[in-house]
């Protein structure tokens, strides 16, 4: 058994954190929300250059993946820095296409995975069990869609109008109903489920990072903000609320990495592990957001203060790629063996 990150994983984490920390992601998010994708795409490209997408791409297509543990590391950092863009969806699409290729439908993988690996293709998608919106379709090179209850994968011919989310970094659009069918049959159904698990897993890791960022910012704030002659962080009610926030995150973390291990092993229990991780991480992140807002007070409630970028994301990720109830239903299978 080995549950700590090894040296190369820690190095990867630190490098990614350094790159994202220097990238002024808050400005990139604000631009992204206005439809100005330039600064966000620059972050995307730097992440691609650090092989984030290679982690999701099998070796046959020039990648190093799938490496779920490293992907978890990456998504925690992406969440911690609130990086905008369809990272989750592109990684899920890589899972979809590689699984389809393993099941005999190799053409879409051959067409897209080499470009996904380099960051050269941004891909978004909708799948059964996810919501109706394809994230950031307006900036993507491909919008894949498997409609609920069907087993046909289509390359959508476009997308509907872009709608804003409570997370300013998330731009929502429905895939258009038309578009070239790429594959059909039970293999699509199975690959779609596999990809949806990867999406939920990536969201769980991202949410964990979002929660950590909210906690870190709040701890820093209450240490310096003074009221009634004391730092706000010296009040016991504040302390206890932050202690609970930390506890939620610290116990979500092993579930996220446990899910990574299960996905890496191709364990039959992986969907339940992913669901448990998503339920716990998204709950912990949302609780962190409520705490962060309350302990910041009015300043936290303003759009111009950067905290707002994480607050909205914590809310949005709750329902992305599996509602709390769906995740709990599936997590009941954890102990079914």
């Amino acid at each position: 058994m080995k549950l700590s990150l090894d040296t190369s994983q820690l190095d990867f984490q630190r490098s990614l954190a350094r790159m994202l920390g220097a990238a002024d992601t808050p400005s990139a998010v604000r631009a992204w929300a206005r439809g100005e994708h330039g600064p966000g795409l620059a972050v995307w490209e730097r992440a691609a250059a650090m092989d984030v997408f290679a982690l999701a791409t099998p070796e046959a297509y020039g990648g190093a993946g799938p490496l779920p543990v490293e992907l978890a590391v990456a998504f925690v950092e992406l969440g911690r820095h609130a990086a905008p863009g369809p990272f989750v969806e592109t990684v899920a699409a890589a899972a979809l296409l590689s699984r389809l290729a393993e099941r005999g439908a190799a053409a879409p993988a051959a067409a897209w995975l080499p470009r996904v690996r380099t960051g050269g293709a941004r891909v978004t998608l909708t799948l059964p069990g996810g919501g109706p919106y394809a994230l950031d379709a307006d900036v993507c090179d491909a919008v894949f869609a498997v409609a609920p209850g069907t087993d046909t994968l289509r390359l959508a011919a476009g997308h509907g109008p872009v709608r804003p989310s409570l997370d300013p970094a998330r731009r929502l659009a429905r895939p258009c109903d038309l578009g070239e069918p790429l594959a059909a049959g039970p293999a699509v159904r199975e690959a779609a489920a596999y990809a949806a698990d990867h999406a939920a897993f990536a969201v769980a890791a991202q949410a964990l990072g979002v929660g950590c960022a909210l906690l870190e910012r709040t701890v820093a704030y209450v240490r310096q903000r003074t009221q009634f002659g004391s730092p706000v962080g010296a009040f016991q009610a504040v302390k206890h609320r932050l202690a609970d926030t930390l506890m939620g995150l610290e116990f979500a973390r092993p579930l996220v990495f446990g899910a990574a291990v299960a996905l890496a092993a191709g364990a039959p229990g992986a969907p339940a592990e992913v669901a448990a991780a998503k339920a716990a991480a998204c709950d912990a992140a949302y609780a962190a957001a409520r705490t962060a807002l309350q302990l910041h007070g009015a300043i936290g409630y303003t759009a111009e203060y950067d905290l707002s970028l994480w607050l909205g994301k914590a809310r949005a990720l709750r329902s992305a790629w599996g509602s709390p109830a769906q995740c709990r239903a599936r997590a009941m299978e954890l102990f079914s063996e």
Binding site: G131, T302, A303, A325
Partner: protein, 384 residues
């Protein structure tokens, strides 16, 4: 004990319902937190006032109907049930007016209240400062004596409505005395937002809409006639009606009853009836909305009998702010993946509700007050 209305109350309620049915705009006004929406809401106040529905519990002389607190609650239920617009005049009516009734001069009331009731003058509150949020007594903005009045200097923030309002009210430090506690020497003043020396910087709330503003005050002249109560005694003036802000006149049950009904409707539309987890949350919200209604009736009755609403308004504040959040969080969860959409009244209501546990005295402060004043636990120095 009974919940029966008198014939007169029933008639009043019916009259309100009929008027609202005939007058509430069919399509919702634009958001109060936009310039156009603000103007639309101001126009709506004119409509309300024209038929004397804007301040039903006030004396007729100021535009009211001399109605009881209970009747006002009934009006509020009808108002929210009818889906009528948010009240742009709320800060004035709920916060400033009770202070004027308690501490203002006859002249002030006659001058200030009628245009407040008609929406001609929209009021913003100006309590907080950058270093004085929960710790309101730490105010630093000053009122300096000047012939015939005062000069205001300093900075106020989180001033609700100030982005588009006409006038504001707040506390300023007028008498410095380092030997006395910090809430001494404050003065309660009303001042114009378009006067010389006032700079208003709108601040966007979470969804970017300018729900409040920063005010920079640079020798803004305020005549003595716009001081409420005695100079230097403003803390007492403000606190004597602070219960109103936390309590029932700021957030009447009608608002939450209407939201709870909408939530039940949403549940019927969207939820799997077998999903008892969400049903239980909807039921909890329904139960709490009903509890808030009955709690408020009880307190209104006590007030009508000459009682007062003291620290109990802190219970009230915690309860409605948490209920409002629970209502909206449950709605977003019912909406599933649509719940993250920033459009729609549930999303706007959610963003609004998020502020509830913070403004009008944070819920942390209110819990301290409840513990100390209602339960008699040892008084803290508000220190860790």
């Amino acid at each position: 004990m009974d919940l029966d209305l008198t014939a007169e109350e029933e008639a009043f309620r019916a009259e309100a319902r009929a008027w609202l049915a005939a007058h509430v705009p069919r399509t919702p006004l634009r958001s109060l937190e936009t310039r156009e929406g603000f103007a639309e809401h101001r126009a709506w106040e004119r409509t309300l006032a024209a038929d004397r529905w804007s301040v039903v519990s006030w004396p007729a002389a100021y535009g009211g109907r001399d109605r009881s607190l209970l009747e006002w609650l009934l009006f509020e239920e009808e108002y929210h049930a009818a889906g009528a617009p948010g009240r742009v005049t709320q800060n004035g009516i709920a916060l400033l007016a009770p202070t004027l009734f308690a501490h203002g001069t006859q002249e002030q009331r006659a001058r200030v209240l009628p245009p407040m009731a008609s929406g001609e003058t929209v009021w913003a509150q100006a309590w907080s400062e950058p270093e004085a949020g929960s710790d309101l007594a730490a105010l630093r903005s000053v009122a300096v004596r000047e012939r015939g009045g005062w000069l205001l200097r300093g900075q106020k923030t989180w001033s609700s409505r100030a982005a588009f309002a006409d006038r504001a009210f707040g506390l300023f430090r007028s008498h410095a005395d380092p030997d006395r506690p910090p809430h001494h020497g404050l003065t309660y003043v009303m001042f114009p937002l378009d006067a010389d020396g006032v700079t208003v910087r709108p601040i966007g709330r979470l969804d970017g809409r300018p729900a409040f503003a920063e005010l920079f005050l640079d020798d803004v002249f305020v005549p003595d006639a716009d001081v409420i109560g005695e100079p230097g005694r403003g803390w007492g003036v403000a606190m004597s009606t602070a219960g109103n802000e936390r309590g029932l006149t700021l957030r009447s049950p009608g608002r939450f009853l209407a939201t709870a009904r909408r939530l039940v409707a949403l549940w019927r539309e969207t939820a799997d009836p077998g999903d008892t987890a969400l049903r239980d949350r909807v039921a909890d919200a329904v139960i709490k909305a009903r509890a808030y209604q009955l709690f408020t009736y009880t307190h209104a009755e006590r007030l009508a009998a000459g009682g007062s609403l003291g620290a109990e308004s802190s219970l009230n504040k915690i309860f409605w702010s948490e209920l409002d959040l629970a209502l909206h969080e449950t709605a977003l969860d019912l909406l599933g993946p649509e719940g993250e959409s920033a459009a729609g009244e549930w999303a706007e209501g959610y963003v609004f509700a998020l502020a509830g546990p913070i403004y009008a005295g944070t819920n942390e402060i209110q819990r301290d007050v409840v513990a100390e004043r209602l339960l008699g636990l040892p008084r803290g120095r508000r220190r860790p």
